[in-house]
Symmetry: C2
Amino acid sequence: MPVSTFLVPSHLMLQLLTAAPAPAPQAAPSLPVAERLVGAALTEGHAWTRLAELTDGVGARLSGSEGAAAAVQWAQRAFKADGVKAWLEPVKVPRWVRGEERAELLGSERFRGRPLSVMALGGSGATPPEGVTGEVVEVRSLEELGALGERVKGRIVLFSHTMQKPEDYGRFAALRSRGPAAAAKAGAVAALVRSLATASLATLHTGATRFEEGDPRIPAASVTVEDAELLSRLVAAGGPVRVKLVLGCQELPDADSFNVVAEVKGREKPQEVVLLGAHLDSWDVGTGAHDDGAGVVMVMEAARLLAKQRPAPRRTVRVVLFMNEENGLRGARAYAEAHAAELPRHVAALELDSGGGRPVGVVLRAGAGAAEKVRPWLSPLRTVGAGALVEGEAGGADLSPLLPARVPFFGLRQDASRYFDVHHTHADTLDKVDPVALAQSTAAVTWLAYAMAEMPELLPRPEAPNPSAGH
Amino acid sequence: MPVSTFLVPSHLMLQLLTAAPAPAPQAAPSLPVAERLVGAALTEGHAWTRLAELTDGVGARLSGSEGAAAAVQWAQRAFKADGVKAWLEPVKVPRWVRGEERAELLGSERFRGRPLSVMALGGSGATPPEGVTGEVVEVRSLEELGALGERVKGRIVLFSHTMQKPEDYGRFAALRSRGPAAAAKAGAVAALVRSLATASLATLHTGATRFEEGDPRIPAASVTVEDAELLSRLVAAGGPVRVKLVLGCQELPDADSFNVVAEVKGREKPQEVVLLGAHLDSWDVGTGAHDDGAGVVMVMEAARLLAKQRPAPRRTVRVVLFMNEENGLRGARAYAEAHAAELPRHVAALELDSGGGRPVGVVLRAGAGAAEKVRPWLSPLRTVGAGALVEGEAGGADLSPLLPARVPFFGLRQDASRYFDVHHTHADTLDKVDPVALAQSTAAVTWLAYAMAEMPELLPRPEAPNPSAGH
């Protein structure tokens, strides 16, 4: 006899299905709830409306900026309007501000001088007001930099690479994050980093670069793919290639800011927390539509829809809009510290920080047997594209402080094929986000959050991370 | 008996073929010459080398600039090195120079203020040093602007459009070239024009805007697609949207410059001229690789290869590197005036100004029967993609002064699907030109030039243009 979802109340259906004999007793989802949650996410367009408010209305929101403060206020107001209880948790954040930035290729017998487009990397030092001038030396890896030894002294190091596709980001991002510090230690006067991009129309990509406490903090800027290739060609042709760089950025004293935390209390086990994270800060260029406005509005929308769900899910769903993912992870660390006692009761956590693309699958980072527990809950997501577990591990920068507490992670894989066209650029704006894809991913996240909060059994916790791996 | 190109000298083969009975006596090409010319263009890579010299070595070259002067010197030296006789013909050119340029969206209750990216259009007026401020009024056509009447007074007019593909350029380019002047006449204080683009990563596209003598010359700037859409959304949401614009551009006195003219003398009819044109000037952003560096090096390479051809083609092949195509057509007019007496003996003319894409076909603008004369000469171009006549008319801005003299035009259609991604932007750089495509188009142009100079009969001249059509 078929089980009709039209005739059997959902709580009974769950009993019927869990009572089924084969293959193993399995919790299964309530289809009416899935219909309601997925249907609302796909038809109401509320996440998109919120994304327009955040990007067009608030705009850029680098940690410590007025924009970041406005974003915190906006999020708190929006949660309230959505009927979701929210509060602020304090975080001290770095406050790095961009200043004048320009560069020029100095002329020679072989070529006329010309302006180069540059954008300081977050955390970069400044040049003197008159700038620094140096001969360009090009490297394609940190190893190559190391091998140059003394030859870097007094030079401007150009970090080149061959990024073509999103998957290359992981291979080359260290050139931006650690290259300038390594160049500084070797005596370079400045660093230029080819933009980490999957397409370029003379597009500059910023991003964080790290200097250790006490190390020389040299000026470090991204250059466009076009200018990087020009410098590369000129260096390859032989003869000195000299560049002048002016950067007026500053590191101001730390500022007061906040994580915005919101919660939908669980009906049975309110002390067990399913965490949905995204980051509220963005870079200071563009309006952080994909990075990470999309993640923010998706987890906010999940909370709004779950807050309307009767009965409420079994466990508590908590949304954390982290501050300072981009240049410090201070929000992530502050959350983990403030909630240390609670972390053993964090039963699942998801981070969205890959843009607003359509869903392509679900990933996990949990103990043995987790996949079997999750799989039956994915069937309502088949037609929005997230009906299956796929290769890869769940996680994210803002979740990394939760690793020692062995919190199980779940994640939504999204289409990110064009994400690195706009990542950290002036072009990361609302027009780049497809409303259909955003609604589909919102639907997927809302249902996944419900599933994690409603499944009868907990996900097994993963092994503790290898302490030598570091984050 | 088959005619073997290995056994029959080319001049005899021509006789054999023209003597063939059916369908009509037809001139046919010399295959050994085609093999040599096409083979050289496809294997030697000389056009690409020249393009690197012009773009990386000389760089931007707006009329009247140091770059333009350097380009003239470069071209003259390059022709000499290539064994092609060349000379300079004087042209007085406008000299418009870019200055400071910035804009900001002023904040309101609905949105925080923020910088907007702007790039002055060539010919734009300047703002006072403190800028101009006005409420944005959006229009989508010149008709819509006209209908607004008094409501434009004191406002900043935003010219919006829906350009998506290269073919849209013709429909919308008048918003840039004529919109600001029309807005000025209606009392606007400034004009912003959505960049004419087929893709955008916050990319600004400049281009000429025209003001009539004596008309108010208001500040006029392009905005990115992203910012145009932002302004559009904010205007549509209601309530005033105010922008402040600062442009420091200047119109300096006319400068002395030159067309660079080069020639390969014809062996039989040296007084009959086949003209190959491209423009040496570019905008002051990017390095004019597609626009029109590619055209320049292709016609230069055609001259170089034809100069080595023995025997020389029947007629003279003349290359004209026009100055000031972008913002005045002064070079084109100067050429037509200086060579007025010769124009009746201009038997064919081609202009390349669509970038360095691969060839896709050949077009004509000539009298009845021209296609039948040209078609047999296209067979050597079949495998480089230009073996057929295709829809469309040959011509171009720099050829327009030759229209009254009824000069037959021929042209190479090239793949321009990505041309308007980079047209008039910082991204029009060498890396965007595919060396394979450039070599294929160079081969096609070289052979077409030979064909026009060698065909036994002249192309029939076209009708005189309709004088009311204008250019």
